[in-house]
């Protein structure tokens, strides 16, 4: 069966057709032959029975009158039937009355019990001879079945002949028709072989018929088209990829070259914080190899005091993706620690995920030292200024007050000049006192430490307003405010700022009753406060100058004050890492803005501040 299964379709078809037609014909033929022989037997039986009856009937007289001659004559009629081998008429006593035989070898079989008896070679028919219902004798006919066999043979050979002829015809016919099926199939098979051997997807099978094979061919072709186009896409994609990879390689080389040739220390890190690249400067500086530094090995040359914050800041950046900025100390190969400013930015891919960190570390040691020196000098100066102004306060005040007292009490004693001179003294004294007071406030503004606890700005505003309560009342001013946030500032500092700004607004008022409005909104990482007034306004070209120490725009007696108020504000605000500025036009009032960062700031050095920009 397996053998059959593997034969080519054409052969299979041929075999199938041949086998089925042959089988069918064989069955038919056998059926016919069988049916015929059966029918013939039946026919024979009937025929011979009838014959026997006729003969029997004809021989009644012979039997009745015991006339063997007549009986023999009757039997002789059987000669007409070539297949009757012999016949015998028996008297009632089973003796033979007459006998007929074709062959001499025939012997009367004797009275038969059965009417019909088929043996292999012959058919024996027995018939009782009746006369008026009385049995007067028996007739026995023996028929040669050769006729039957001859007939079967005839039929059989005919059938066989027909069979062969039909089979041959069927084969011939089918061979033409086979092609209709086998050819497209073999073509398709060829096409598939061709495709699989050559790998050429442009091969197509020819559609010959419109049946299932035609559909198969179409689908096959369609599939090949699909494969072909995908193949092309793949090839193209591969090429693109190779090109892209080459580009990437090139870029990497450029980067490397750049990184290595820079005097800065450059590093890159994986998104999880492992440092995976250091440039040459690193190894030169630390005297360590890349193997020693990589991943988290850099911790070994960080100054122990800076290490904790370093780790925290680095981890925070990795987690949040925010830029990393830090000043810290690295240990050089010779053991000395140098201040560095480290910065790193996250590089993101198309999906916005961090693909790597790129950073640099700049040696700011000299700068830092200078800064620290500067700071120290500054602090000293500050300290000096504070204590000086503090100590100066009292004697200067005494001068002021007493010159006033003298002027009042000994006014009459003095001549005109004296009075004038005394007046100058008074004036000078007063001014000195105010100056010193402002100076003291100014220096104090630079001294206090940054607060870690938040203060409610609205509350602080209230304190400021209560201090200015009298001035507000006298000026018939109205102060309004929006909801103000909490800020990380010393209460006194914020109050100072509010006080100064509002005092200025009251001072530099217009004819109308002063309307002052305080509000705050979020701006980037900080709060932006605004103090708006409807006063005389400020010429834009003096926008910067007014914040200078002791700078005043108006020398009028109308506006008292040393002009240090805004300078104090600026100092305070900048101390907190904010900014202060004004927007104004002459005659249209002024709005002062100042920003305070939302979160407590660590004091930064000048270098860091400038690099943040």
């Amino acid at each position: 069966m397996r053998n059959f299964r593997d034969r080519p379709i054409k052969q299979k078809l041929a075999i199938i057709i041949t086998v089925t037609t042959t089988a069918a014909l064989l069955m038919a033929g056998l059926g016919i032959v069988l049916a015929d022989s059966l029918l013939f037997r039946g026919y024979l039986r009937r025929d011979l029975t009838a014959l026997a009856r006729i003969i029997a009937d004809n021989s009644t007289a012979a039997l009745a009158f015991n006339d063997p001659k007549s009986a023999a004559e009757t039997l002789a009629a059987l000669r007409a039937r070539p297949h009757v081998v012999g016949a015998c008429i028996y008297r009632a006593d089973a003796s033979i009355l007459a006998r007929y035989s074709r062959k001499d070898s025939f012997e009367c079989p004797g009275v038969q019990e059965q009417k019909i008896q088929f043996t292999r070679d012959s058919l024996t028919v027995a018939q009782t001879v009746l006369l008026s219902g009385r049995r007067i004798g028996d007739l026995v006919l023996v028929y040669d079945l050769g006729e039957l066999y001859d007939r079967i043979l005839l039929y059989g050979s005919t059938v066989l002949g027909v069979l062969l002829a039909s089979s041959a015809l069927a084969l011939v016919l089918s061979s033409r028709l086979r092609a209709v099926i086998a050819t497209p199939i073999s073509q398709l098979a060829q096409a598939t072989t061709s495709v699989s051997e050559t790998g050429d997807y442009s091969v197509r099978a020819e559609r010959i018929s419109d049946d299932e094979l035609g559909v198969l061919v179409d689908r096959f072709n369609g599939m090949l088209e699909g494969i072909q186009s995908r193949d092309n896409d793949l090839k193209k994609a591969l090429l693109d990829r190779e090109a892209a990879l080459r580009d990437v390689e090139r870029e990497r080389e450029r980067f490397h070259f750049m990184a290595e040739s820079m005097p800065q220390k450059i590093f890159t890190a994986k998104p999880n914080g492992d440092i995976d690249y250091f440039n040459r400067q690193w190894t030169l500086f630390t005297g360590l190899t890349f193997e020693q530094i990589k991943n988290w090995g850099w911790t070994q040359f960080i100054h122990p005091d800076d290490l904790e914050e370093n780790l925290r800041a680095w981890r925070d950046s990795i987690a949040s993706g925010e830029p990393f900025i830090l000043e810290h100390r690295f240990r050089r190969a010779d053991g000395a620690y140098r201040w560095h400013l480290s910065r790193a930015q996250a590089m993101r891919d198309a999906n916005g995920n961090i693909s790597m960190w790129i950073g640099s570390n700049t040696d700011i040691h000299e700068q830092k030292e200078k800064e620290e020196e500067l700071q120290r000098a500054n602090d000293d100066l500050q300290q000096f200024a504070y204590s000086a102004s503090h100590d100066l306060q009292e004697p200067i005040r005494n001068v002021a007050v007493y010159s006033e007292l003298v002027a009042k009490r000994y006014h009459s004693v003095l001549d005109a000049d004296g009075q004038q001179f005394l007046g100058f003294l008074q004036e000078g004294g007063r001014r000195l006192a105010t100056l010193i007071n402002d100076l003291l406030t100014y220096t104090r503004a630079g001294m206090a430490q940054v607060n870690e606890a938040p203060v409610a700005a609205s509350q602080v505003l209230q304190h400021a307003l209560s201090s200015l309560a009298e001035a507000i009342r006298e000026g018939d001013a109205r102060v309004t405010w929006d909801e103000l946030p909490e800020v990380y500032m010393a209460e006194s500092h914020l109050q100072q700022v509010f006080q100064n700004l509002i005092a200025n607004a009251l001072k530099y008022r217009s004819e109308a009753a002063p309307q002052i409005h305080v509000s705050a909104d979020v701006q980037g990482t900080g709060w932006r406060f605004s103090v708006r007034d409807n006063g005389i306004g400020i010429d834009p070209k003096y926008k910067e100058k007014i914040f200078g120490v002791f700078k005043r725009l108006h020398q009028d007696q109308k506006y008292t004050g040393t002009g240090i108020g805004l300078a104090i504000c600026q100092r305070v605000v900048e101390r907190y890492g904010g900014r202060i500025w004004v927007e104004s036009e002459p005659g249209e009032g002024a709005t002062f803005f100042f920003t305070i960062p939302r979160h407590p700031q660590r004091v930064r050095s000048r270098a860091a501040e400038s690099s943040i920009g």
């Binding site: 009644t60 007289a61 015991n66 006593d93 006369l131 008026s132 009385r134």
Partner: protein
């Protein structure tokens, strides 16, 4: 089969006859009874091969009567042979007559040798009577069947014309076993 044999003395007779025939001298002195036995059987058989018109009977259930005119040569044989026999549903009876029968009285008339004036007897019979004679000349005289003995065997000649004239139909089978048939 056995019953049939018992019931039909004819078979017995046939058997006897068969043996008798096989014997070198079938007909001897004592054979006379045998002869008439055979003839009796033949008579009965004649009936079986003859067709009478319905007018030959007085009634539909009338029997077929065999009449012996003249000396009765059969003795008991005829009676034994026809005992219980019926042909086509009609009983067979036997009569002995001294003179010619009346119409429809006999269907078969056996004219004994003793009767000589056949030319008077035969024409006087009506239709439907099968005349059987015991001499060869019987049919020449107008009889229908004549018994003869040939080669020690009982045979008969038939005068078909006479039978036809009497509105009797004799089966061709009967005719075929007759020694001769006169048409």
């Amino acid at each position: 089969m056995a019953q049939q044999v018992v019931r039909n003395p004819a078979i017995l007779l046939a058997l006897v006859i068969g043996f008798a025939l096989a014997a070198p001298n079938p007909l001897g002195g004592a054979d006379e009874s045998l002869e008439y036995r055979v003839k009796a059987v033949f008579l009965l058989n004649f009936i079986k091969f003859t067709e009478w018109p319905p007018s030959a009977f007085t009634a539909s259930d009338s029997p077929i009567s065999i009449c012996i005119l003249g000396a009765d040569p059969f003795g008991d044989s005829l009676d034994q042979v026809i005992a219980g026999e019926s042909v086509n549903g009609k009983k067979v009876t036997a009569e002995r007559l001294r003179q010619a029968p009346s119409a429809k009285a006999c269907q078969v008339l056996f004219v004994s040798k003793s009767e000589k004036n056949l030319d008077k007897i035969l024409p006087a019979l009506g239709q439907g009577v099968l005349t059987v004679g015991d001499e060869e000349t019987f049919i020449r005289a107008g009889g229908m069947i004549s018994f003869i003995i040939e080669d020690r065997r009982v045979r008969f000649d038939i005068n078909q014309t006479a039978a036809q004239n009497a509105a009797l139909k004799l089966s061709s089978k009967l005719l075929s076993v007759a020694r001769s048939v006169e048409k």
